[in-house]
Amino acid sequence: MRRSRINFFLIAFIVVSFLSPAPAQKLNNNAAKTAPAASPVKLTLPLKEGSLRFAVMGDTGSGTQKQRDVGEMMVKYRAAFPFEFVLMMGDNLYGGETPRDFETKFSEPYKKLLDDNVKFYATLGNHDLPLQVNYTNFNMNGKEYYRFKKGNVAFYSLNSNYMDKKQVDWFVSELAKDTSEWKVCFFHHPPYSSAKKHGSDNQLREVVEPIFVKYGVDVVLTGHDHVYERIKPQKGIYYFVSGAGGQLRSGDVKASSPLTEKAYDRDMHFMLFEVAGDQMYFQTISRTGETIDSGMIVRRKK
């Protein structure tokens, strides 16, 4: 009697186990409603002791679920790669800038990062109003163009919407006295891009490239085109287009562009950077966690 009762419970357990999904499967099914199946975190960065770590994202402010997915993936990667701050490539808020827009298009998608005191440094895109420079979480300190330094790297945020003489003069005078080992510039419009929609901003390039070359700028980060592109080094300078943090223009990169070293236009993405001495490592990660590009830049002798 007792044995048959045990057998009954054993059989019942086995049947229930086969019919019910495992807890992990349930979790994945729930997640599938809001986000696509994600690849596990696979870091290519070396995580060297004392290195400077930061993330890059551009054209984010759409307020869509996909923007949130990118934000979630950044949180996952931050667990493995604790980056200190994030550079924003502009178009921080699309289609309106009410207090609610600031929430849905910025502070909600990146809530976990903000809660962990990750700082965001913004630049203005063509969809951004200038008063964003006063927004506390964009850390622009009331300025449309500004410089800050972390470790051995100087960062310059420029306003490519309005590159007037005042800004150019400021940029030149700051660079002329800058003794930082690395000089990284970030702004919205790409001097080089293989995207069909906007492409290279030759007008801007005509003005800024001679300055980059003369004063030894190492890396230039931009957005505007809603794709990822790593440009072949131009006059010794590394250019990246990272404009798909919240918007995507699928299939926009010209297939046979001579500028392209690596491009990706199938999903949204963000980037991670690690600077250790004369080496700068980067990894580009899609919304679903797939590594779409990675590599290392060695600082030029100046």
Partner: protein, 207 residues
Amino acid sequence: MRTTKQKSHNTGLRVGGLFLIGLGFAVVLVVGQKTDNPALAPPPVVTPAEKAAVQSFENEVKEYVKLRNRVREQAPKLSKDATPEQIHAYQKTLEESTRAARKNARRGDVFKPEVADYIRRTLKTEFQGKDRKDIRDIVFETELQGVVLRVNYPYAQSAELSEMPATLLTKLPQLPKEVRYRFVGRNMLLVDRESNVIIDYMPEALP
């Protein structure tokens, strides 16, 4: 025989002369540094009449800046660490107070015909030639459907802003930091940087 006084006078002259020569070199270097990029070359020489038109335009802009700064002083201060609510409230206050302070403003008050002609000629020159195709591409790629232009009212917040081509900005009359040029299609706008209010605009500015 030279006296000690004379010697020291001569030495002083020499030092002074060397200082002036050095200063001269420094000025040349600084000027050279700021103008060695051909893309940033200043606009071509203008006629006395054009110079007067530009001067008058710059005075009008200065008057506007004085007025908006008076208005701004009365608005609550905006911190560099503001919340979205504070930014929104500040922008609204600035917009409404500016409108009230220049309630009689009309199109053409700042872009008077003389300067408008000068700017149109400058733009025409800059838009000519194959190498200037880029400027046209930048200006006309912006999606501006439904943007209404009205003096004293803000440029639509939800609308895209066209990038001002960098090389073009150096050729136009220079503006104080409170004011910006903008293109909306072929129209050229003068916009307040903070309130986004359209101060004035020139229809069909672009060729």
